[in-house]
């Protein structure tokens, strides 16, 4: 059953890779403005869950519903359009384009959506400023620190004003202080814009920035809200 008021939800997800069952009847939901940490041991199915929720991977069974649309029923082109327009992504390694400057990287999703360069870069610069990394606007990813690069990646995820942000180990490559800074800025921006955040992490200090956590174990999702 889809919980009332949820923006993104999944019911009965199953996904196998060959003989390995990554998800086994997994349920999940997130509300607008809510940060949910997805935790669990390595290989438990955390990333597969995120990929299914984001429409990157099609589950073998079960449904993903986003804002009333059944993501699992949409053709590839429509799912891609939804991903570009409504979802933002932050990964462990920023995955910035090395040939582009930081502001061009942050503006990239808007440029791909057809926005003019000047307008796209003005919006990107706004987010670089918010994330305290505007000084690096004209530098290339190879010329900035890991913490700066990751903040540029967060700016890129936020630049389209997404309604859902998927963050897969966003601080995994950073030290404690830089990781904290990224989490503070990411969660503050998300709460301000009422974006939902699906935060995959194995670090409890990172999960402590969430509103609630779910545990993925052996492909099933346990909602910890009812545990206590």
């Amino acid at each position: 059953m889809i919980p009332a008021g949820s923006l993104l939800s999944a019911v009965g997800l199953r996904k196998s890779y060959g003989p390995t069952r990554a998800l086994d009847d997994a349920d999940f939901s997130v509300h607008p403005g809510e940060v949910v940490a997805v935790m669990g041991p390595s290989g438990s199915g955390k990333s597969t869950l995120l990929h299914c929720l984001a429409g990157i991977v099609r589950p073998d069974a079960g449904t993903v519903t986003y804002d009333g649309h059944r993501l699992t029923d949409l053709p590839d082109a429509e799912r891609s359009a939804l991903r570009r327009g409504e979802f933002g992504f932050v990964f462990q390694f920023g995955q910035l384009v090395p040939e582009l400057t930081c502001v061009e990287n942050a503006a990239l999703p808007l440029r791909l959506a057809g926005l003019r360069r000047k307008e796209a870069e003005a919006k990107a610069l706004h987010w670089l400023e918010r994330l305290d990394v505007a000084d690096a606007r004209d530098q290339r990813p190879g010329e900035v620190s890991g913490g700066q690069g990751q903040r540029v990646a967060v700016a890129r995820a936020l630049v389209t004003s997404p309604r859902v942000i998927f963050a897969d180990e966003p601080t995994g490559a950073l030290d404690s202080l830089n990781g904290e800074r990224v989490m503070e800025l990411l969660t503050a921006a998300a709460r301000e814009t009422r974006a939902a955040v699906v935060l995959v992490t194995h670090e409890s200090r990172v999960a402590a920035y969430s509103d609630r956590e779910v545990i993925v174990r052996d492909g099933t999702v346990r909602d910890m809200a009812g545990v206590l």
Binding site: P41, E184, E203, S204, R205, A207, A208, Y209, S210, E213, I215, R222, M224, V227, L228
Partner: protein
């Protein structure tokens, strides 16, 4: 935390009354658990008996709480030694949790559920500390960080134990 040493340390800057000491303690260290007046006076009596503080003056018309205390030379030495001595790392929580996990396995209850509940409780506390850090000053941030790192260590132990429950169950039932 040694309340005696902490109160002694607070006296190093100058003589204070008992109520003044309590106020200073609460302001600096008593965020979650303010000191009771009874604790202050019991501690000061002990320190007085051991020659680490002396009575510097008594206000007229008051009871025992009107005493003003001053630290002695021996008291200053004692605080210095305490500050220079590293604390013993105590596995205070693990022993209790370990006992509960083993008992759950022995009695056929859900040890995984117990660990999940503990993890949720730990994270609940970590959220509160993270929020306090977000809105607090540098002192708050450093104090909360210390607590967060310790809770994180406990959580790692919970994860590892959860991953080894099968083996642990075999061992305790053997």
């Amino acid at each position: 935390m040694s309340i005696g040493h902490t109160l002694l340390g607070l006296l190093e800057s100058g003589p204070r009354h008992g109520y003044d000491l309590k106020r200073a303690f609460d302001e600096h260290f008593g965020h979650d658990r303010p000191l009771h007046y009874g604790q202050v006076y019991a501690t000061m009596s002990r320190l007085l008996k051991n020659g680490l503080v002396e009575v510097d003056g008594i206000e007229q018309g008051g009871g025992p709480d009107r005493k003003r205390y001053a630290i002695t030379e021996a008291g200053v030495t004692d605080v210095g030694q305490w500050l220079a001595r590293p604390e013993k790392p105590e596995p205070y929580l693990q022993s209790t949790l370990y006992t509960k996990v083993v008992l759950a396995l022995l009695t056929g209850r859900s040890a995984a559920g117990l660990l999940d509940a503990q993890r949720a409780e730990h994270l609940r506390l970590m959220r509160g500390l993270t929020e306090r850090k977000r809105s607090g000053d540098l002192a708050d941030q450093l104090i909360c960080d210390h607590a967060l790192f310790h809770l994180e260590a406990d959580l790692r132990w919970l994860e590892v134990t959860a991953a080894r429950l099968g083996r642990l169950a075999e061992a305790v039932r053997a």
